[in-house]
């Protein structure tokens, strides 16, 4: 019993004792784990909301960039690039791929300032040195970079000019948007060429108008140069006579505007037009004339048959020299009629020439985009005038000869059919050789100066035919044109060198010079896309951007200082967070960062140059 009582007593006692220290420690540990777990969940809640915010920003950015990319520069001349030979053309700078647009080199991104304005980048390319440190799921970023693509970041808000916020600017996002980087996934399309690399066709001029004269010396004019390449010999004398009569500084032109002074040119225009209209083209086409007001005026073109029932033939299309002759005639007739004080037979004749000539030129231009013999009427410019050309990637490249300074090459040009009357460049490579201008073209055969005509012709794809690899008119499924704009979030601005790293290199395609350094384009001079925020020197503190180039005067004076090539290229880095202070992040450049996908936006990537209005 004693033993039993002792046991019972101990058992009862043990049931009333407090927790041991060990038990309390365990309890506290359990509670600590619970609290810690709860605390760990809290940042996830915030991150989820931050992620949602970034998704909203990225989606808006994607909407903006893809919709505005549908309205690229509409001024064709500002983009055309002509070289003497195809391999000298660095190709066309305003290609309409989304990537090019994202670098701000497309000029349509300012809805306030119209379609052409100094480029205001919507994105800046992330320097490759930084982009290469970023990892993404399935190595997606590495694949973009390995394929020649880039990553882009949103430019900072610069309140003192440049790209910053405010109702006059086009774009700004909340500060956290700078964590976003963008890339385009999916292979780029092979786009159509903006023009033949050696001839910027189509060219337009007013209708009617006199011979197109680009300069005064020697009475030279473009159309006579073309005429010597493409026209029948029998017309050249008469055409040249009219050109001389209306050429800048010619005695006939300076004789005044009295009727008698205009009669000489009026007669020359009628003589040439009558001969040109009567001279059959290669397919026998002529333009009948009838008497109006005592002179021979062209008749209106006959109605065309329904092309589905009776296909049009080459004979339905007037020749370039006939169309040009009618344009000159209409001009001379309008000028002569203007010398009369009251409407009379001159006026009736001018109206007849005007109406019929304009209708013939409209037919000429509308029937064949691959006939480049006569300038298109400016007031009728339309999509049908634009010839579809593309490089032939499946034929051997055209490589410059040993005589060239450097080994350049170009793909050959594929066209749906042969281009007739390709003529010569209308820029400096079409210039004739004479004693007062620098010799550009030396292509003189049989006394005729062909300019770069040989260069144009040698660039056509030859095998097995000019359109063997022409695909622009092929049927396609929408998915074939689909690419993806991908947005990632990554704190790349925490790198120690995020503002020190030089800007992304400029693509040679953005050059407005040909491979010989000749200025062959009339558009804005180009510089790095980060030009508004580049540092001006490489001192330890860096001078703040903000004076002259790379600052508030940028929009007023967008032409970069080419004497300082380091600024043009952005060699000293850029103020990428937009605080006008040269900053260093805490993360060593040897550290890799993980980028997290925020959103993917599929868009249609066109192959043709177009604008939506």
């Amino acid at each position: 019993m004693t033993a039993c009582r002792t046991v019972c007593t101990c058992s009862r006692f043990r049931s009333r004792q407090a927790f041991t220290l060990f038990e309390i420690a365990i309890s506290l540990a359990l509670m600590a784990i619970g609290v810690t777990t709860t605390l760990l969940l809290l940042p996830m809640m915030l991150r989820a909301q931050q992620h949602a915010r970034l998704e909203t920003i990225a989606a808006t950015v994607a909407l903006q960039i893809t919709s505005m990319a549908k309205n690229p520069e509409t001024a064709f001349w500002a983009q055309s690039l002509e070289a003497e030979k195809a391999w000298q053309n660095p190709t066309h700078m305003d290609a309409f791929d989304l990537e090019r647009f994202m670098e701000g080199e497309a000029q349509a991104n300012s809805p306030l300032a119209g379609f052409e304005s100094p480029a205001k980048p919507l994105f800046n390319p992330l320097p490759p040195a930084i982009a290469r440190r970023l990892d993404a799921e399935n190595d997606e970023i590495a694949q973009i970079l390995n394929q020649g693509g880039r990553l882009y970041y949103l430019p900072p808000d610069i309140s003192n000019g440049g790209i910053g916020p405010g109702p006059g600017k086009t774009f700004s996002v909340p500060r956290e948007g700078q964590q976003l980087v963008f890339g385009v996934v999916g292979l780029a399309q092979q786009n159509c060429l903006l023009n033949h690399p050696s001839r910027a066709w189509p060219m337009h001029d007013f209708w009617p108008s006199p011979p197109i004269v680009f300069d005064a010396f020697d009475g030279w004019n473009v159309e006579m140069a073309d005429a010597k390449v493409n026209w029948p010999n029998a017309l050249l004398t008469d055409a040249q006579a009219f050109c001389d009569a209306v050429a800048y500084n010619s005695p006939a032109r300076n004789a005044g505007t009295a009727p008698a002074a205009l009669d000489a040119a009026f007669l020359l225009a009628r003589t040439f037009a009558e001969k040109a209209c009567a001279m059959p083209g290669p397919d026998g086409q002529t333009i009948p004339m009838i008497a109006v007001g005592g002179f021979n005026a062209p008749v209106m073109p006959p109605a065309l048959a329904n092309p589905e029932a009776t296909p049009w033939t080459a004979k339905d299309q007037p020749t370039p020299y006939q169309v040009i002759a009618l344009r000159w005639l209409a001009f001379a007739a309008a000028r002569r009629a203007g010398a009369q004080t009251t409407p009379d037979n001159y006026g009736a004749f001018a109206v007849a020439c005007h109406d019929a000539g304009l209708a013939w030129q409209q037919r000429y231009a509308a029937m064949d985009a691959c006939d480049w013999g006569a300038v298109r009427a400016f007031q009728q410019a339309g999509a049908m005038d634009f010839p579809l050309l593309q490089y032939d990637f499946f034929a051997p490249a055209l490589i410059s000869g040993a005589a060239e300074d450097a080994k350049d090459f170009s793909w050959l040009v594929s066209s749906p059919r042969k281009v007739n009357n390709s003529g010569r460049a209308w820029g400096m490579y079409g210039w004739v050789v004479n004693t007062t201008t620098p010799t550009i073209s030396t292509n003189i055969i049989g006394g005729r100066d062909y300019g770069n005509h040989a260069g144009i012709e040698s660039a056509w794809s030859a095998g097995p035919s000019i359109n063997s690899h022409f695909t622009l008119c092929d049927r396609f499924a929408p998915a074939e044109r689909a690419r993806q704009l991908v947005a990632w979030t990554v704190d790349w601005q925490s790198y120690e060198d995020f503002e020190e790293t030089p800007c992304a290199p400029m693509d040679a395609k953005q050059s407005i010079f040909d491979s010989r350094g000749t200025y062959v384009n009339m558009s804005w001079t180009r510089a790095t896309a980060e030009r508004a925020i580049v540092w001006r020197n490489n001192t330890a503190g860096r001078a703040a951007a903000g004076t002259g180039y790379g600052g508030p005067n940028y929009e007023a004076d967008p032409l970069p200082d080419f004497d300082n090539i380091a600024l043009v290229l952005g060699s000293f880095g850029a103020d990428r967070n937009g605080n006008a202070s040269f900053d260093h992040g805490p993360t060593p450049r040897t550290t890799r960062m993980r980028a997290e996908v925020v959103g993917r936006y599929t868009f249609y990537d066109p192959r043709l140059f177009m604008a939506v209005k």
């Binding site: 809805p111 007031q379 007023a556």
Partner: protein
């Protein structure tokens, strides 16, 4: 018994202090956790609310750009300031003389002038009123009537909006002259002139196309009464005007695009009135119907988050007018929202 007595004694001071310390620690941990959790949850809820409002604001901005409702609200007669017929206004009905068939092959749609020397007083380049103009008949007057009707009735921006991209913005008036609005001048500070061409940077009588008229400049629309009275629908705004001519020649700063962005009032709307006091303020502004700004202001900490963007493809002014049936004679031109129509009816 000694053991029993010993086990029933009170806590020692050390035990008590230790227990109190533990208790305080637990209480503090619980309180801190609760406070942190509460704060974080509140912040997350606030961010969630902001995110939802931001999305609402963006959607509303896109809808506004698509409908032009902030310029002309078909549901509210009091919100239609651009229908006033006392001046050219973008939402006025068009006169019947304006032919809107823009078929490019129709000869009546072709400009029949010169790039230079169109003025009837100078016929050195020919007499072009012979071929078209308000004084001519039939198709020879189509182009001129369209230009005149659009510009004088709807204003400059509407003219550029309606006309095809390759249009030449010039015509011969009833006296065979070029209208004053289409002759360049450097005297820009008189809105009664309704100058379309702007200052004389190319030459007084050089005909201009869409590109030249919009090169680094813009035509703006606003509903601000004061600015409308000052002829804003007849002004163009040049992006680099001051730098181009110099400050001394900047006769009217309202012509400078950058300054105009500060002078002109964007169409504004509060999307959170009324609202709970703790909710962020959400405001939307639409500038020229293509610059959209959504602003979110937190009343608690004062932080402002601005989403400022432009959309390249929105409804054109012509589209907005078609939404209201203003250009379709077959419809009642009441200006109310029109039912969805087939393309052929537009």
């Amino acid at each position: 018994m000694r053991n029993y007595a010993s086990s029933s004694r009170a806590f020692t001071l050390v035990e008590l202090i230790f227990s109190i310390a533990l208790g305080l620690l637990i209480c503090y941990a619980a309180f801190a956790t609760f406070r942190l959790t509460s704060g974080t949850v509140n912040r997350a809820k606030q961010m969630s609310l902001e995110n939802r409002l931001l999305r609402v604001g963006i959607l509303r901005a896109l809808e506004a750009a698509d409908t032009w409702a902030m310029y002309d609200d078909p549901w509210r007669a009091t919100a239609q300031p651009l229908r006033t017929t006392t001046d050219s206004n973008p939402f006025r009905p068009l006169p019947n003389t304006v032919n809107l068939d823009l078929t490019s092959t129709a000869p009546g749609n072709w400009w029949r002038g010169q790039p230079v020397g169109n003025n009837v007083s100078s016929t050195a380049y020919g007499c072009y009123p012979l071929f078209s103009g308000l004084a001519r008949l039939g198709a020879r007057s189509t182009y001129a009537k369209r230009m005149q009707g659009l510009m004088d009735t709807l204003g400059h921006q509407a003219l550029l909006d309606y006309a095809p991209l390759n249009s030449v913005f010039m015509y011969f008036d009833a006296s065979d002259a070029i209208p004053a609005a289409m002759q360049a001048t450097n005297f820009l500070n008189d809105p009664t002139q309704k100058i379309l061409y702007g200052f004389n940077d190319l030459g007084r009588d050089i005909a201009r196309g869409f590109r030249q008229l919009t090169w680094a400049r813009s035509f703006l629309i606003t509903t601000d009464k004061g600015l409308l009275a000052n002829g804003v629908n007849h002004k163009y705004f040049y992006a680099t005007y001051q730098a181009y001519l110099g400050a001394a020649n900047n006769q009217d700063p309202a012509f400078d695009l950058n300054e105009a962005t500060q002078i002109l009032v964007a169409e504004q709307e509060s999307l959170t009135t009324p609202k709970p006091a703790a909710w962020p303020d959400l405001n939307l502004s639409v500038f020229n119907n293509n610059i959209l700004t959504v602003t979110l202001r937190n009343p608690v900490d004062g932080t402002v988050s601005t989403m400022h963007f432009a959309v390249g493809v929105t409804t054109t002014l012509r589209g907005a007018r078609q939404q209201r049936g203003l250009d379709n004679a077959a419809l009642a031109t009441t200006g109310a929202w029109q039912p969805q129509l087939p393309w052929s009816a537009l």
